[in-house]
Symmetry: C2
Subunit: 203 residues, 2 copies
């Protein structure tokens, strides 16, 4: 079940991870669903432990009916102060945001919030493996773009540069991920490449 | 503002991290508040990026009043599938749960949920720095207990062992943290000790 609200989409589910069957391939899944499926696969195969953080909610009113559980009667969606996903892979801290666009040749920076950029910069400074996953829905193409490239572009845009990343920029500085079966979106392969690139960091 | 509900306590706040003044020492703060304050200190001083995850909420009904933001009209607290805190410190993934007790000589395992133990085990297997922070409220003593010790104790309890960790056990296998000023609860010092102990891991 997915509810649309102004700031985006929240996935609402009662099912536990293990009870959820693996969905094969992309049958109209959102990027969030694809990443969640991939994370279940990675966890079940002990390859990584990555979760989407719950959507932050500001609770205003709670009822406590007798003999039954508390009911939230008034609450509001809040903007997250961090990215949506984080976790651990072979000792490395992973932190990323995922965004999709229906555009075909560019990705507008307006899809990110300043606090997300700041959070990615803070995690990079702590030697985390930080990136964004961008899905071009119409093209059915997925890219992992290192946070350093996004942050660089963002800062140039703040100094008056262009406000939209071209597909060419993303192709040049990102890593394309081909959607598959197990997992649906094998983004860990790119994480391993990013780790290899900065291999000396932990040594 | 803190709302009590059956499974524990949720901190509800609209304030941004930076706007919040640092509270000095323990003036009746809950363990959660003490850790949140410490995390703000660590983030502001670029020492670590650690956040408490939002409380997971199952949303049932949302209203969309015209010209104003969405209002959640019916929702329920859900049990988290992970621990409450995670983040990154100098390239290391940190993952922990925090619990307080008013007991003076033991800490009952009933304070943990099985899925939290499983999550800690899964993160340990990925070489995360995993632990629990236990506060003995009446004694005003704080301990960082490595997840490996908690998991070992938990598994013995499942095989019929005692269901409560004695203060002695926690003193022997945990690391006491003295509450201070900046930060309120300097738990990163223990993280550094844990990292030193397993120093060869990343080499």
């Amino acid at each position: 079940m997915s509810i649309k609200y102004p700031q985006g989409s929240v996935s609402i589910s009662n099912s536990t991870d293990l009870a959820q069957p693996t969905v094969f391939g992309d049958r109209g899944m959102t990027l969030e669903q694809e990443i969640n499926e991939s994370n279940i696969y990675y966890r079940n195969h002990q390859l990584a432990v990555v979760y989407k953080k719950p959507t932050p909610i500001q609770i205003v009113k709670v009822d406590y009916p007798k003999r039954s559980r508390a009911v939230i009667k008034e609450a509001y969606f809040r903007q997250a102060s961090t990215t949506d996903y984080n976790g651990v892979y072979q000792g490395y801290y992973l932190d990323f945001e995922a965004k999709e666009t229906r555009r075909k040749s560019s990705f507008p920076l307006g899809n990110f919030h300043e606090h997300q950029i700041e959070h990615l910069a803070a995690c990079l400074q702590q030697a985390g493996i930080c990136f964004v996953i961008i899905k071009f829905v119409v093209l059915q193409r997925y890219f992992v773009l290192p946070a350093s490239k996004l942050i660089g572009f963002w800062r140039q845009a703040q100094r008056g540069g262009t406000k939209s990343m071209s597909l060419k920029f993303i192709e040049q500085f990102g890593y394309e991920v081909k959607s598959g079966y197990n997992p649906v979106l094998p983004y860990l392969e790119v994480c391993q490449q990013l780790i290899n690139l900065i291999g000396e960091k932990h040594e």
